[in-house]
Symmetry: D3
Subunit: 236 residues, 6 copies
Amino acid sequence: MDTTLRDKLMSVSVATLATALFNRGFRNQVIQGVHPVKAKGVNMVGPAYTLRYIPAREDRNQLAEFRNPEHPQRLAVESCPAGHVLVMDSRKDPRAASAGDILVTRLMVRGVAGIVTDGGFRDAATIGSLDIPAYHTRPSSPTNLTLHEALDLNVPIGCGDVAVFPGDIVVGDDDCVIVIPQAIAEDIASEALEMTVYEDFVVEKVKTGTPIIGLYPKTKDVFTSEFADWRKAKGR
Amino acid sequence: MDTTLRDKLMSVSVATLATALFNRGFRNQVIQGVHPVKAKGVNMVGPAYTLRYIPAREDRNQLAEFRNPEHPQRLAVESCPAGHVLVMDSRKDPRAASAGDILVTRLMVRGVAGIVTDGGFRDAATIGSLDIPAYHTRPSSPTNLTLHEALDLNVPIGCGDVAVFPGDIVVGDDDCVIVIPQAIAEDIASEALEMTVYEDFVVEKVKTGTPIIGLYPKTKDVFTSEFADWRKAKGR
Amino acid sequence: MDTTLRDKLMSVSVATLATALFNRGFRNQVIQGVHPVKAKGVNMVGPAYTLRYIPAREDRNQLAEFRNPEHPQRLAVESCPAGHVLVMDSRKDPRAASAGDILVTRLMVRGVAGIVTDGGFRDAATIGSLDIPAYHTRPSSPTNLTLHEALDLNVPIGCGDVAVFPGDIVVGDDDCVIVIPQAIAEDIASEALEMTVYEDFVVEKVKTGTPIIGLYPKTKDVFTSEFADWRKAKGR
Amino acid sequence: MDTTLRDKLMSVSVATLATALFNRGFRNQVIQGVHPVKAKGVNMVGPAYTLRYIPAREDRNQLAEFRNPEHPQRLAVESCPAGHVLVMDSRKDPRAASAGDILVTRLMVRGVAGIVTDGGFRDAATIGSLDIPAYHTRPSSPTNLTLHEALDLNVPIGCGDVAVFPGDIVVGDDDCVIVIPQAIAEDIASEALEMTVYEDFVVEKVKTGTPIIGLYPKTKDVFTSEFADWRKAKGR
Amino acid sequence: MDTTLRDKLMSVSVATLATALFNRGFRNQVIQGVHPVKAKGVNMVGPAYTLRYIPAREDRNQLAEFRNPEHPQRLAVESCPAGHVLVMDSRKDPRAASAGDILVTRLMVRGVAGIVTDGGFRDAATIGSLDIPAYHTRPSSPTNLTLHEALDLNVPIGCGDVAVFPGDIVVGDDDCVIVIPQAIAEDIASEALEMTVYEDFVVEKVKTGTPIIGLYPKTKDVFTSEFADWRKAKGR
Amino acid sequence: MDTTLRDKLMSVSVATLATALFNRGFRNQVIQGVHPVKAKGVNMVGPAYTLRYIPAREDRNQLAEFRNPEHPQRLAVESCPAGHVLVMDSRKDPRAASAGDILVTRLMVRGVAGIVTDGGFRDAATIGSLDIPAYHTRPSSPTNLTLHEALDLNVPIGCGDVAVFPGDIVVGDDDCVIVIPQAIAEDIASEALEMTVYEDFVVEKVKTGTPIIGLYPKTKDVFTSEFADWRKAKGR
């Protein structure tokens, strides 16, 4: 992933990205119901690498399955490229785990940028303490075999009611996770960065007592020049 | 699909099949939350042919998409083999349609055995009047493009929290739909047929005043010979 | 159960009973989410006899359990007194059945007044055709062992978020089921019957064009004498 | 309401209207989770007249409230203009009734075109038998005072997750209810009528064995002239 | 708002207020499903100022709408009086934001006492760090325009299944938010304060090993004099 | 409870216990939707002592009920044996409290090992600060009388969709709570402890860059001897 793009996306919020996408007609890119296992205070950014689960069938999902070196969940953990985000379609079902601390530790060591499920993680307290961002709906101790069969890798999936295509750019902050279609990621990042500069100006103004009407969004001319001056002063 | 197998499955209930599967450790083969668009009084039986939807993204799901002769939903309708059941993974979301009356009419004309979605059909009142069994959660008028993108054909899917593999045997009655793993379909069908014979005997006995304890299940010896006689008399 | 009480309750609606109970401070006596398997056009009335399910644990809920003549579900079916209503606490979970057609047939033969679950019935299409009222949330083919363990008989339970004490009077119509505390059943029945007489008068008036304000509820004096005349004429 | 507009809307399905609206960027006009109390086989059409409920507070919602001639629920029933559809915002909560048979009878007598709630009706079996279309989520016997306080009339509301502005055109069929913004109702009706003509042609073709690809939507030229001929022959 | 009233309400818990209200027949005043964005360890107290959202319709909710100086969401932020609590009816839908950090910062600067939604906030991590209490269901990054249209100000609303009338007294602690009808706020506050004094005594007793029976509630005479002494000693 | 058993269970995670139970066919022993009021970083372990709630009926659940020294909720708090875990069946309904800080303080003083509800606690912020583990779904300020009637003690119950029999061994960590059938608690504890030793070895290996395939689960011979050495070195 391009470093400039990553840098931009590290410095904007998911909320601002959502507005930039809304502005182009994308209303449904924020993964619903998913939050950080533990807030990290820094963004997760990377292209999506996906894993699809289907409901487990008892004869295909006994503990012995994990002995298979080709088990898709294990493969996912070894094949997700460094810098990518592993996104799992767990059918929004957190009654059994999507993964646990050992697999997430392996992803961390391999340099993966983060992990997202619309189900839940087991060993979530441990996962929260690792140096890799992780997002889920809630902790869930039962092994994934109880309800989920890992089926295939890097196909388009749904995650939290959002379409995720391999290579889409995934960004998470302390609130939410958003999926940016790959083809427009550069434009969205640049636009969100511009918006962020103005929002930072707005916050400063608001903190000193300026009403928001006319300021946010900017409809009063006075703020045009004020903002230009502020921007110059800040070197942004 | 083998005619003998089909005949057996036409004459047993989904409840009895569920018990036969439970007996072998399969606890989760009944598609949850799905019922007939209109009760037909006769079973739907056929191997599964699947269609997978993911959440729709606005730029990929405008009406013009349907002009694409390779659109997977349209392809599904033309490629699902006669005698098969088209099973759709709509992520249990009936807020937009999985299909409408024109596509279902085409399936009927092509000799498809039935259609199942864990979402909803538009034109459901019309679909209910067609000569093809259809199962969904509720009527849903919005076009599928609103929420669902048809993605791929005949891959393993989830439907109503059940794993469905292409070729699994799907049976529906006026209550529910069940998915029988292909490899054990013969055995399950035979076992369910045997159970049905005994249950028919039980119903007759119960209607004439026999208590169920000892009769259902059969733990009193007296019923062994009585049942043998009844069976002979009925030629079953 | 007293015949006069039963007769009164056969001729009033659950809605009217709900209002009479509301009037005495009972806001929560209608079983939520439950409807007739098939509308019968006639009320179900009887004292409650209860069965409590807890979640099933695999080692205690194999098919062999049903061979136990003391299995509480089987006992319930043989011990529920004629004229009573069997009410089941299935924890609002219809993913597995609360009972099936054989047991409900036995209840019918034994003269039980009806059956209610806040889960679902298997063989629901058949149950709907029997001559006994049955209420549930939706058809559910999996055997109860999949999720429910029948635990004890005739203890106070919850059903559809309503408290049900053994002996409470249960009334069902084509819409809903209501639970009347035993101690006030006579009073509530009489009050509801009176309300029904007036409502019948109101419907007649409304059908001939009378506005509802002042009529329902009766706040205009003119309707007092009109109603008295109507009542006399109708002999009610 | 204009007769021509009404006639057009009487002869198209909610599904077709949903597609016409989708085509103009309206993705969310079908009221979710609401269906006919009883299918009528004919459309409900009329401008929206609205009633807003908020949660009930015990001191403001005793039975005596109904004695107030200005009670908004009662006023709604007397003030909703003939030919209009009364649409109720019950906050998607069917645990208590939105209205009962007496009020709906009064609406029928007054010539109101239909009634819609995203809650439930009491006396639903009776309402289903009346000669007025009614839509809800499920029967609900408790009086509305239990949970709902009727607050104001003919303000913009939400109903089943759809915005409803007074005067919007409401159309219901045997599947669903849709809300058409007033300003575009004529255009949408005309467009849907045109679509319906083509869909009728398509159904005929499909029933005689024509594949849908190229036909629906029409991308093969051959169907252009065929359709023109059919249309002329049918006089549509 | 009266300072004495505020002081009392600053020193009691929402749980105690709920019991005082329950004691007078108010069973439903705690906003369901809402919690602090970040626990502040101090109560939020103030009269309600309300904002009502309805579902968004695409043609009325593009980003340009915010340029309108009369946009109700923006107006709410500028018109909510200092010392009041802004309460938003977001129809319990957190799939899009009710507000973000800039608006909440403005409310803080204006001296507003707090903000409550039954939806979710965007920029929630930032909002949690501001010096103003905020309550929601979960973080939600999409702009409110995606699903919510701000419609009117300071009308009665529902929030988390509770009726909120402008001027009702809203109290939040680290657990929940409660709405006290304005007319009884003084009485409830005084009663809750008295209850709190006794509960503090109880906690001390319990920590030193006294059983709760007879103590909580106080039914043993011995505690009457003990409490009187304790109260005197503590000067409460 | 046996000290050795307790010690073992203090040093394994709920996730590992869930896998050990899954291995013996128990798929459903983790209480769903319940988490710590506040993470304690140390396990809760003890035999279950149960309290069953049913829905509250207004005439039986006024504040005066608590004056009854035999009120089951109060009795539960005084009779739950030291070292046991009080588990409450609140029918997964957190709209009213299962208990508050005074009762939980009393449990703490009495040496009870922990408290679990599938509803919610009032005074949750205070409960979180006490020196006793507590698990619920969310804070809930309304008194339990609003929705729950405490009915009986130490009967089998459901809690979060799991069967809980008195005497079952309950273990909670910072993620979840699990219920171990009493008869197999020793075996499960020993097995989980063994698994934990190997998992600790695995984590060390993974942190130094070893891929998981062949290591977890152990299918490559090389790890057999390596693990034996590691174990010896660690004295485990």
